[in-house]
């Protein structure tokens, strides 16, 4: 096992003897609850926290015969784009030394890229599966909102996040998605794909057949992207064209505002969700003082800087006098993004863009400048606002040998379409 700090814990959880994933290892992001195995969310606040129950996806992995080799490192509570905000130390990119693996599911992507796990689960609130998949040269799928149960996922921003697979190939990722997808009575936001025009035969869709596929390329998502990334992106589009696909440019004016809307909504939800960490029910005890002093002490000590930043900004956005200015406007932007995607997908099967506008950053580079880090999520966040499925597949490398990911976005419950298209490349 490499020394790139991708695991927080390596407690092994054995699945049943038989099943579609028998003999395979699936690493699990450390914000997904595992019964009797520590789950920290990369936070000192939850150091030593041992869930008394399994997340639904973990139950499904065990039933499918998978072995869980450990819990993977992550940005604290999923807040970050580089996997450098973990209380358990930053993760190194195993395929681009000295660079970040992307975040927040950076540990999950790293163990897959390094071959230390066959597959992994991540969670994606604004790109947290697709970004590390792109930076580590592997495949990641952010499912349609509601396809996969969030029961047992420690909440960051409920209306945006989904659990999804990371794997070396599209077919493997699709196979893992097949195991975890489907309604769950313990998560009222799950929906049955069969009620929405799809079935669950995701792995079979990875047949590489893109003959006649119509690809829309949103010009806004190429503007401002790194030149080497754009070049690699077009090479991949050429490759798809050579296999029978066609492309046309589309315009999504709303995405110019998506990243701001995403952060306002995510931070607002985070400020509410993380209120539970008070040092009484769990978390570090705040010690002496009255209720408020004790809470405030526990949260000062338990939370890292990025978490505090987001909780405070979320509290601000929801506070009296600012709700209409930030939160309500962000909800308008969200509805607008949804409309734009619906329209663009009415005459394209999928939309394609670079997953990240930049190649993997150098380690330590972006930590002091939160705004620059937030803006790096410009291409992934619109998809979460619109609740759509998206896949990141390796598109190639820059001249410096840094991985570049191509993102394909499909209509709601259009997982099979993006899997089919992605499998033509990986």
């Amino acid at each position: 096992m490499g020394d790139y700090n991708a695991y927080i814990a390596t407690d092994t959880i054995e699945g049943t003897d038989d099943g579609p994933l028998a003999g395979r290892t699936v690493a699990v992001k450390d914000n997904i609850s595992t019964k009797d195995v520590q789950t920290t969310c990369g936070s000192a606040m939850l150091d030593g926290y041992v869930p008394p129950y399994d997340a639904t996806v973990v139950e499904r992995l065990k039933d499918a015969g998978a072995t869980i080799p450990g819990k993977t490192n992550m940005d604290e509570f999923g807040m970050g784009t580089t996997t450098e905000t973990s209380a358990y130390g930053a993760v190194e990119n195993p395929v681009a030394e000295g660079h970040v693996p992307g975040g927040s599911s950076g540990g999950s992507a790293a163990v897959v890229a390094a071959g230390d796990a066959d597959m992994a689960l991540g969670s994606d609130t604004g790109g947290s599966i697709r970004c590390p998949a792109a930076f580590c040269g592997v495949v990641g799928i952010k499912p349609t909102y509601g396809l996969v149960s969030r029961y047992g996922l420690v909440a960051y921003a409920n209306s945006l996040e989904q659990i999804g697979p990371i794997a070396p190939s599209v077919e493997d990722a699709a196979e893992l998605l097949e195991v975890i997808a489907g309604p769950d009575e313990r998560d009222g936001t799950t929906r049955d794909a069969t009620d929405h025009g799809s079935d669950y035969d995701f792995a079979a869709a990875a047949d590489g057949d893109v003959d006649g596929l119509s690809i829309g390329v949103p010009t806004e998502l190429l503007d401002g992207a790194d030149e080497a990334v754009v070049e690699t992106f077009w090479d991949a589009i050429d490759d798809l064209q050579a296999q029978g696909a066609s492309y046309h440019e589309v315009t999504l004016p709303s995405v110019e505002h998506a990243v701001e809307a995403y952060y306002v909504i995510a931070m607002s939800e985070a400020s509410s969700n993380l209120a539970r960490f008070d040092g009484v029910r769990y978390g570090k005890s705040g010690g002496e003082g009255n209720w408020n002093e004790s809470f405030a002490q526990a949260r000062e000590e338990g939370f890292g800087e990025e978490v505090k930043r987001r909780v405070l900004l979320g509290t601000y956005a929801l506070s009296a006098g600012y709700h209409d200015k930030y939160y309500k406007k962000a909800q308008d932007a969200r509805a607008w993004v949804k409309q734009d995607f619906d329209e663009a997908l009415s005459d394209a099967d999928v939309l394609a863009s670079p997953t990240m506008p930049v190649p993997p950053m150098k380690r330590g580079e972006s930590l002091d400048d939160p705004l620059t880090m937030y803006l790096a999520d410009a291409n992934t966040t619109p998809v979460n606002l619109a609740n759509l499925p998206a896949i990141s597949v390796p598109a190639g490398e820059t001249d410096d040998g840094l991985p570049v990911g191509l993102q394909l976005v499909g209509p709601a419950f259009g997982e099979k379409t993006i899997i089919r298209a992605g499998s033509a490349l990986a």
Partner: protein, 92 residues
């Protein structure tokens, strides 16, 4: 810097609302960063008012007693407990 940039007192007030006992250096750092971040959020002013389709459904289940965590399991991660209950700081 925008008109709405926050000052140190405001950051300290928000931290109080959010129950986080920030250190002085953090207040200073956040004050500077929040000015920049909130200025970027101002771009939302350009967003047109948009019709939001209310595509919401209530999800209900019968309110029946069913298997749940034991009291011991529910308390296992509490830093402090007493007589089967969470033990918190004094109220007052």
């Amino acid at each position: 810097m925008s008109d709405n940039a926050v000052d140190g007192d405001e950051v300290a007030h928000i931290a109080d609302l959010a129950r986080i006992d920030l250190e002085e250096a953090e207040v200073e750092r956040f004050t500077e960063q929040f000015g920049e971040i909130l200025a970027a959020f101002e771009a939302l002013d350009e967003v047109p008012e948009t019709e939001r389709e209310a595509d919401l459904t209530n999800v209900m289940r019968p309110d029946e007693v069913r298997e749940c965590l034991t009291q011991e399991e529910a308390l296992q991660n509490a830093p402090d407990s007493e007589a089967g209950q969470f033990k918190g700081p004094k109220v007052s």
